[in-house]
Assembly symmetry: C2
Homo-oligomer: 208 residues x 2
């Protein structure tokens, strides 16, 4: 059985919990206290030298890191990744957009606020920059979703899962989604997909 090295508040880890749940794949969850830097301890660094969750243990001692790489791995040959070559590349495009333009802004601001991270001079200066860049990323999403149901083609895919993870909790970072009606309709569509689970659901993974 897969073991997911996890943190329940992490949107990156939630992506993996959501896809595993929607694939009906049971898994074991190992929770790490990221506020106590448990993923920077020597025992964890042996598993992932980059010191981050989520980390999927495919077999004892065999690890895969990076949330979106894990999504690609799990989605292969399923309807969560388009079979068409161009659409598959477009899914990749949105996965990289998510990690470069979206997560470092929207997720990071949420993390600083909800985990009560110390406001260093750097973070104080970075906050308005990240807020503006996060809003710009939401603008790119809104424009793309106008007249579309899903990010790629005509079906729900890992591109939607990756972007949903931190968009649906963006308000926790102070991002107002009222100016983004297409995004709000899309969030509702994602939440209505079969076997959807909530980010806070600690019971995921068990066979139901």
């Amino acid at each position: 059985m897969y073991r997911l090295h996890d943190n329940i508040t992490s949107g990156n880890a939630y992506k993996v919990r959501l896809l595993l749940s929607q694939l009906c794949i049971p898994f074991e969850r190992i929770e790490y206290d990221i506020d106590r830097n448990e993923t920077r301890e020597p025992e964890f660094l042996q598993k992932n030298p980059n010191g981050r969750i989520p980390l999927l243990e495919l077999a004892p001692g065999r690890f895969l890191a990076e949330s979106n790489a894990i999504l690609c791995y799990l989605a292969e040959d399923t309807h969560f990744l388009p079979a068409d070559r161009l659409q598959r590349a477009q899914a990749m495009q949105w996965l990289f957009f998510e990690q470069y333009n979206h997560e470092p802004n929207i997720a990071t601001v949420r993390y600083w606020i909800t985990h009560k991270i110390e406001m260093t001079d750097f973070r104080r200066q970075a906050m308005p920059v990240k807020r503006a860049d996060g809003i710009a990323a939401l603008g790119v999403m809104e424009q793309h979703l106008a007249g579309r149901e899903w990010f790629v083609g005509t079906a729900y895919s890992i591109a939607d899962i990756a972007l949903y993870a931190y968009t649906h909790v963006a308000d926790q970072g102070g991002f107002d989604l009222v100016p983004f009606p297409s995004i709000r309709r899309w969030l509702n569509r994602v939440a209505a997909e079969p076997n959807h689970v909530a980010i806070s659901d600690t019971t995921v993974g068990a066979i139901r």
Copy 2:
């Protein structure tokens, strides 16, 4: 013929030029002056709403953005992307690592320095943070490359191309590679691969 919307100083764009050259695929290069924000003008934003190069025009009006998504697209069914499912996922892991832990630090610092970007208060505060995070990313690479020739399996792949792009010019951002001997040996191996081209080579793309 592919058209690459390009900038010759960009490591992200260089990844695509390098892979296209190594695949012996001819392409047309369209150069943008990023210092004059040419990729933020309305005509370009119609091509890529995210306002960034590289952008690969697969056919007239059909565009693919995000350098690493373009690498995935071009490498499919070639020896630049492993056929083994786990190794393919490991390649993805390094591509996401590159865009999250490496490029925003090493490439951004290089950009601020070499393009003589105005040192705002934010950038002044961010510089030492990005320098430390960039060195940490190099540390993860060094540890992985100790005893390995390539990032994934036993062959050169798009994981190597993606990480080479900004590592081999890291000195332009003030990153010293002397403490990273495994990285330096790997850089030499990458540069010795067939059909390698330099980042500054403006003649790439033409049929030779």
